[in-house]
Amino acid sequence: MPTLGADMQAGTLVEWRKQAGDRVARGEIIAEVETDKGLIEIEVFTPGVIERLLVAPGEQVPVGTVLAIIREDGTSAETGAAEQSTTSAVVAPAPVSTAAQAIPPAVAPPPTAALPVAGTRVRVSPAARARAAELGIDLSTVVGGGPRGVIEREDVERTAAVGEGRAGAAPAGAPPETATSERQTRMRQTIAAAMARSKREIPHYYLAQTIDMQRVTAWLGDANARRPVTERLLAGILLIKAVALALREVPELNGTWSEEGARLRSDVHVGVAIGLRQGGVVVPALHDVDRRTVDDLMQGFRDLVTRARRGSLRSSELSESTITVTSLGEQGVETVFGVIYPPQLAIVGFGKIVERPWVVAGQVVVRPVVTATLAADHRVTDGHRGGLFLAAIDRLLQTPERL
């Protein structure tokens, strides 16, 4: 069971799309898994032949559980210890309490990973243990939000508060919570854990720059007037592309943080924050943004939003982002003060494109402008580099035809 972002603890296998004996290629979808974020399609990372499926449909298993064994191409079926070296698991085993070193560094280590699992050790701080005893909370029901999933005092108190909230909200004889509302509660808790970890561990610094969008809106209006409706672009896709290209100039904002320090990435996979109307947010990745055309990105973005709303994202989309972009201008917000999504190094926010007085060559004129903000990890970069990054975004947006 892969960890699909910083806020996942377990998943339920819904359906196998392949059977034992089937040949699978890299990127092929092998299974569907139900998570807090809806149905996720699990992709194969190693081509080969499926040797065994280890989890039955309907079973809920923690992150790190091996779902299936794939025999890699060029190896023959063997038994015993040899099998370990000739086969690869669909998902590498990553016992949740020690997940940080077992999962690939590009994957968000689950901050909420202390989901109690038989056979794994749940780590609990002494203060949390005492508080749990005081409140009568079973520690196996608490999700750890501390470093490496350690259960801390506040996690115990949050669990207690959620328990009271539920009890208070449900009148006697009320039907049990629906699966959807339970999922929302879990999503809320896990977002809380990821964001609390971010605020606790990442020393954020914040910058903002107002950008003239005259050229972007003019170019976009002209381009869209000549395009059929199915091929039209949104300003947001130009902003995302500009971010990706600016990262080539300030690459130390693109990557992830681990105990060893920053791990910078040459690929730019932009996590795009998509708010769900029922509550919660998902941040699936648009892959290789710096290398794709805006038309290709637009199709990819449309597809992502549609599937995020429907609840059918893919495993690679939820675990590979190297930076996040969030646009909150839909309802009028002008400035976003982002919280970095661990273990990433930065989050870029865009507000609404609004008309404002703007000085051009000594004259006050009306211009569409957008406020771009950066929240970045001070352990890796300083404000000067962050400022260069925002300036690069501004400069790139002045030649939208080259994006």
């Binding site: 209006g221 869209n224 007037a225 059929p228 409706v229 199915t230 039209r232 949104l234 300003a235 947001g236 708010g275 109307r277 029922q278 973005f301 449309r302 939003v305 549609t306 709303r309 429907r310 839909e330």
Partner: protein
């Protein structure tokens, strides 16, 4: 296509974009954006859906006319009437 059929088609398209929406309480004169919390991508997908369902080309400048259910019915009336004749 009758007005009722047009409305049913519009709501079907909308339902694909906002499957959680309760259309029984939809005010035909208030914008979908305000009632259903749609964003720019939802609006674009809605216009694409109308384009596919009604076979009409919709310039970007006309998006504002499609903001409400009544607006949609009025906007699509002409091409639908033309299709009948």
């Amino acid at each position: 296509m009758t007005r009722d059929e047009m409305q049913a088609t519009i709501l079907r398209v909308l339902g694909e974009i906002a499957p959680e929406a309760d259309f029984a309480r939809l005010d035909p004169q208030v914008s979908f954006r305000d009632q259903l919390d749609l964003d720019s991508m939802d609006v674009l997908n809605f216009v694409i859906g109308l384009h596919t369902a009604f076979g009409v080309d919709i310039p970007e400048a006309d998006y504002a006319k499609l903001a409400t259910l009544e607006g949609c019915l009025e906007y699509l009336q002409v091409p639908c009437a033309a299709a009948r004749t």
